[in-house]
Amino acid sequence: MIHFIILIIAIPLFSAFLLPLIGKLNEKLMKFWVGLTLLLTSFLSIFLYKLILEKGTLAYTLGARFPSLTAPQGFPIRIILIGDALSGFLALFFLFIVFLSFLFSLKILDGYHFLDPVRSQNALAEAQRKQALLEISKSLTRKTSNGVDKFYTLYLLLLVGILGFLFTADFFTLFVFYEINSIATTGLIAFFRNKECFKSAFHYLAVFAVGSLFLLFGVGLLYSEYGFLNMAIIAKNIQFSFLDKVALSFIASALILKAGIFPFYFWKPEAYNASPVPAVILSIVSSLSALYVLFRISFDVFGLNIIFGQILILFSLLSIFAGVFLALRENNLKRILSYLAISELGYVVLGVSSGFLMSNTESGFKAIEGGLFHMVNDILDVGLLFLIAGIILYISRVRNAFEIRGFARKHPILAGFFLFGVLAISGLPPLNGFASKMMIYESVFHLSPVLTIIAILGSILVLAVLVKIFASIFLGAPSEENRDYQVIPKVVIAIVSIFIILMFSIGLFPKQFVTSFVNPAAKALISQQNYINSVIH
């Protein structure tokens, strides 16, 4: 079925349109509906990936007589979606992660009813707690009233934005999906509705409104030059004149803003700190999809440009360092993790862009593979740490990482999970971070040994930051002030263990993973001609 590629975008969209109506009826039905949608979309993505592996790159023309009618007059006139091995693989993987984070959100957001001040142990608090329980039992049987239905609507819409990023081959559609991403993320940031949330949501949206308009300006420049909006035909006609460079700089800066690496990372800690953890996972996925589009545009559409590749390498090194050094002076757990997320994205950019500088060599291909492989590991590692941070906040309600003490005594399992996350993110064997970082180190060495040294140094600093936090949160005697407000739900532990199992299995069998998933993806990314030929025969 060739329609899979549009159904994977249209089905979550349809479901999101229906969700406010279902949410009015019943909360449980609504959650079931969201889960069903995510499951269906995940299955579609599996079939789509299989189809892509069988038939090669797929192009789907929206509104044409038949889907493969891409260029009736020798040039495309309609919107075209392209699915190749890279975007199909990323969609498959992202949907899996999103489904896990959805399961996580079910439990975590349920707990947010229990918001009575149980800090004092008197009878009044107990009565309030009972009142809250009663309220829940009412709300479960009747309609939703706490905004969870709106949360899940925005959740699905953000997913649509991410999938649109992955499959679109049209510059203006890219702009539209960019806006869907920004607005849905703004809503998710403001979910808890306190002053901090509103402020960071306002800053986020103001920055991204200007950023998306810059993207549109760049698209307009390309349109004035070539008269088309399709990426493939622009890639075919590209001349790299001055206007093209300006357009590339505008589009790339908007995408770097969305990805949140070096020059424009300032929104990240604020936004991640304010939004609930399941939304943070989705936000990381959205950043990664923006990076995918950045690679796609800068290397497939605009072709190889040495200076741009060097600028990207510079940015990646600076983001590795900026992330770590800014994390050193923070004390809020989620802010620290968001700075580390910036530095992890730096490795992805370092791998892929240095791979393109060494194109047509073996180490260059390996660097691209390493970068794309690190995309997978980034979301697993950073996602795991964020999930654990969410659990810690859920049970202790303390945001300052240095105020929590002695968690290992009370929750040894949590300490173990966190330790796995620390080892994986800092690239120690035998976990997944080691596999991809090793590939990046080895291959980047052929471009310049300095890059490898800097990258290893960054990893060591990440380890230093995280060991400090681990010692402060988990070690030592538990203090009297930190009381548990919740027990850890079993489902949450199961989800985190799925993450751990995935990380272990990738870390133990990296070769198999790379040859079966990452290798076709990297081949799809480097062949510009293949991308053009899928539209213009």
Binding site: E179, I183, F202, A206, G220, Y223
Partner: protein
């Protein structure tokens, strides 16, 4: 050769960007974002203009020399998106103001 209309669009974009960078007032930031949006929309619509062209609508059209329709379709989308962003920004601004009052 620099056309006057493109210069105007650049002026609007620069004014909007500087407003978004320097102003602290939330409403003024929203206005700046809108000014940038107006500049970019004007830029796009100016790209599609052909001298002496009429609107690309065949109903009782005065002539068949028509301006490029694609930019018009694009800014139609872009304007509505700007509207949505403005609405969300304004309601956030109202909420921040109310939180400050308390």
């Amino acid at each position: 050769m620099i056309s006057f209309i493109f210069l105007v669009t650049i002026l609007l974009i620069v004014i909007g960007t500087s407003g978004a960078m320097f102003k602290r007032n939330l409403i003024k930031i929203v206005m700046s974002v809108n000014i940038v949006g107006a500049g970019v929309n004007l830029f796009l619509i100016a790209l599609g203009y052909r001298s002496g062209g009429v609107a690309p609508i065949f109903t009782n059209a005065p002539s068949l020399n028509m301006v490029s329709p694609t930019p018009q379709a694009l800014i139609l989308t872009s304007i509505v998106i700007n509207l949505a962003v403005t609405a969300l920004l304004l309601s956030l601004a109202v909420l921040i103001y109310k939180e400050k009052e308390k």
